[in-house]
């Protein structure tokens, strides 16, 4: 739901890197977004197109790589990769614990790289 502020941050950061690298035009930007986030790819591209219109990032394609949800078992420290709809009935495959998990990954919001001319 907060695609707009996130998009603003993305634009700020890539413009900074574009300047540092003397870039003429940004072609694509790769984001890594955790599966726990409700970010909508379509919206973020639309906001980005609008905000970046008059910059070197105008027309850049946003590629979103989803980072899976990984829980860590509080009992045996096993890392467990799950889908979001499995959150309710996760059981540790190693020690059979059914509670006390912490979130190891799945909440990231990260700009990985960009392609530029």
């Amino acid at each position: 739901m907060h695609e707009l502020p996130v998009t603003e941050r993305v634009l700020d950061i890539v413009l900074k890197h574009a300047e540092k690298n003397h870039v003429r035009k940004i072609v694509s930007i790769t984001l890594k977004v955790g599966e726990l986030s409700d970010l909508e790819s379509e919206w973020i591209q639309q906001y980005f197109d609008y905000l970046s219109k008059d910059t070197v990032a105008g027309g850049a394609v946003l590629k979103i790589e989803r980072v899976p949800i990984v829980l860590k078992c509080g009992q045996c420290a096993e890392s467990i990769t799950i889908r979001k709809d499995q959150l309710g009935d996760t059981t540790c495959p190693k020690c059979s614990a059914t509670g006390n998990f912490s979130i190891e990954s799945g909440r990231e919001y990260y700009i990985k790289e960009m392609e530029a001319e």
Partner: protein, 226 residues
């Protein structure tokens, strides 16, 4: 067309906000002010809980409230009726508060002479979960009419809060809400969370919540600065 080159960016989008939040938390700690970030769906009872909590604690603690409402001053006016100072932040269309907005609210308050500041965050369970406000602790409300499946749908929110207030307990007998099941679901990702069952309508449970908060504030303010 020039050559296309790959530039490694490797930057966290939330890093600036997270750093500002950590800094604000430090500052409030030095000023001996405890800040609570209160989050919930629209209508879950955020303002009602604040009114009850203020009534319970205003003789013991110096309290203020920062209200983040999309575009109205109704909540701030209700708080003002208790005699407590409240600041209305107009968030426009924003779906959550970030540190820069909270700081604007704090500028209008004399934080040094306050013990406890509540932030009523924007009503939704998604966005406020991802943006640190700089508060000392995060609290959320789930109200009975919303259903016991919410921890499954909004895991981030439930996993980051120090306490969960289950509000509108007076509706329990009219609903199929399973409190034990909900609690089990919450504890899966947040085993240490404090859970309080209250009704802001009847006042049930408010005392034990207010007592816990008062003790948590006192413990935190008594901590020595590093």
């Amino acid at each position: 067309m020039g050559d296309i080159k790959l530039i490694e960016v490797k930057e966290d989008i939330l890093a600036d906000n997270d750093a500002a939040a950590a800094e604000l938390r430090e500052r409030l700690k030095k000023e001996k002010t405890f800040m609570v970030n209160l989050m919930a769906s629209p209508g879950a009872g955020k303002t009602s809980l604040l009114l009850q909590t203020i009534t319970a604690l205003k003789n013991d603690l110096r309290i203020s409230v920062i209200e983040a409402d999309i575009d109205s001053i109704v909540d701030a006016e209700k708080i003002a009726e208790t005699g407590i100072q409240s600041i209305q932040l107009r968030t426009g269309g924003f779906c959550h508060l970030d540190v820069s907005m909270v700081k604007k609210g704090l500028e209008a308050l004399d934080t040094d002479s306050l013990d406890l500041i509540f932030i009523e965050n924007v009503g939704n369970l998604v966005c406020p979960a991802e943006f640190d406000t700089g508060a000392t602790i995060d609290i959320m409300i789930l109200s009975i009419p919303e259903g016991d499946d919410k921890p499954l749908k909004y895991p981030l929110m439930f996993s980051k809060c120090h306490a969960l207030i289950v509000n509108k307990m007076d509706y329990l007998s009219l609903s199929d809400f399973n409190v034990d099941l909900m609690e089990k679901r919450v504890r899966k990702l947040n085993p240490d969370i404090e859970i309080f069952k209250v009704s802001c309508r009847t006042g049930e449970g408010i005392n034990s919540w207010a007592k816990w908060l008062k003790k948590t504030v006192a413990d935190s303010l008594a901590e020595k600065n590093p």
